[in-house]
Symmetry: C2
Subunit: 308 residues, 2 copies
């Protein structure tokens, strides 16, 4: 049996890395030769969790070629968010909590998606269904992923299942959920020492919408102005990214994790579509989005609809 | 909460109808306002099962428009095999055992696919995970679906999980698995009184492959010659179907369910792709496929590969 690489999406967040580590561990316990890898280096938030639970960061890969042709995907399915040679590989399994799009296989596979706030909440179910015990370190990465994806249960994507899963995993991981959670989230909001290019790449995904290629990045902060003061620098970097990568539109969501609101900054074509999607008027390429914190639930569907 | 229609693919087979009935029942027990419907009338095989277990055939629909915009899919996911207005509907859930292709949603959903022989095997798991008791009639439709999809466990798609599920369901349904199974399969092989057009439509699905539109139909028989004696009539009907529906290639798999072999009859473009896919030479548009009984596992991937 050949090796199986297990990974989350490009620009990995804590769930992409945490779910890869935990699902690869589960599959190894079930007899598969799995290795968790990552399509990028951990963010400072994720590194905080890795350090806290004394877990090695997964090896970073750009393609599977030469190593294996068998992979399992977590926390994503869209090919443009995946490993560079995804179309040539055999996808054995997917565990995810996103919409399904731009995904195709030649053969039947195991696919488990549920509309919950975090992939790791589904992975917890899989551990239970297969009667596999969760070690403390693995539980720590899983609860960190849930805290990250739900912004400590404040995101509208958060379900009761996520809250229950986080509490169960926090017990195994031996942490105080709120105390640890806030410390971990704040570790990810240290933006001042990062270039505009780095900020735009921290948590960014591409989405085909209509015939357009839309890039949507999100940064978390405890102070919107800290980011907005750098608007000129950010706009220049967004323009460069559009030109270099063929994005028609670049959308940056700057989210205040304390107030659970966001400011939108957009550069590119189809600004009228953005205004229609959120029923707002852009002013100086910006708009305030009251109560918006979730790209998946409060941004992508609205933009997809506007472009359809 | 608005009504939710639950259905399998066009030209429904026993799993498409059995899984729609059983999954709709499960979801109703879980509090959802579901109705099982079908995208076509039951085959004689399916009608045998419905009659035996005294279950009403699901209402036949062509679109959901006007009734609801919420649906759940079983035993398929590809839009071209689904309800006519699928692209305008909200897909809440999918339970399936096929490859994933030409499927897209704007929002996260519940998607449960496993590489087993029958959707109803997965539905049985869902009953257990949710602690819902399976009534005798529902178990009867589920075991009939497993018998149908696995050709009484002879198909290479059949897994140990399908066999275990069928035995468990046969106990609840109070049937002798082999005796009932053979009677049900034979009820579906009464082909002599059917027109060529009807034969081609009994169990047919369309697949986009490369830039071609490929139609793949399958008929079960206990006597290959009974079907092959009508080759001229079948070829004329296949040519007409290609012209009328824009199929580039029509593939008919005639399967002997007693010997577990098939004869292939093909009409249209790209016959060289068919020969490459199965490593055969067509003679008079035909070829014998030793041991081939599964469209999903022994035909679709091979053709997809040849067209890619």
């Amino acid at each position: 049996m050949s090796k199986i690489l297990v990974f989350g999406h490009q620009n990995p967040d804590t769930d992409a890395i945490g779910a890869a580590i935990s699902f690869a561990y589960l599959q190894k316990e079930l007899g598969k030769d799995t290795e968790p890898v990552a399509l990028g280096t951990p963010s400072e938030e994720t590194q905080y969790a890795l350090d806290y639970f004394n877990v090695d960061a997964p090896r970073v890969v750009e393609s599977a070629a030469g190593e294996t042709n068998q992979v399992m995907l977590v926390d994503h399915n869209e090919f443009q968010q995946s490993i560079s040679d995804i179309a040539e590989l055999t996808i054995l399994a997917v565990v995810d909590h996103h919409r399904i799009a731009n995904f195709e296989t030649a053969d039947p596979l195991y696919y488990r998606a549920e509309p919950v706030g975090c992939t790791s909440t589904i992975v917890l179910k899989l551990f239970k269904e297969n009667n596999v015990t969760i070690p403390k370190q693995i539980a720590g990465m899983m609860v960190s992923a849930i805290i990250s994806d739900t912004l400590l249960f404040k995101s509208p994507t958060c379900t009761q299942e996520d809250i229950d899963a986080a509490n169960e995993l926090a017990d195994i991981a031996e942490i105080n959920l709120n105390g640890y959670g806030l410390d971990m989230l704040k570790a990810g909001t240290n933006l001042s020492d990062k270039s505009a290019e780095t900020l735009l790449d921290l948590d960014a995904k591409s989405f085909p919408m209509g015939d357009k290629n839309v890039r949507i990045a999100q940064v978390n902060t405890v102070d919107l102005n800290e980011v907005l003061n750098r608007q000129g620098e950010l706009e220049a970097a967004m323009n460069s990214a559009n030109a270099a990568n063929g994005y028609d539109l670049f959308v940056l969501i700057i989210t205040n994790i304390l107030n659970s609101d966001s400011e939108l900054l957009v550069i590119g074509d189809s600004l009228d579509k953005v205004e229609a999607a959120f029923k707002i008027k852009l002013d100086n390429n910006r708009a305030f989005l009251n109560g918006v914190v979730s790209r998946k639930k409060q941004v992508v569907p609205q933009l997809t609809e506007a472009f359809s």
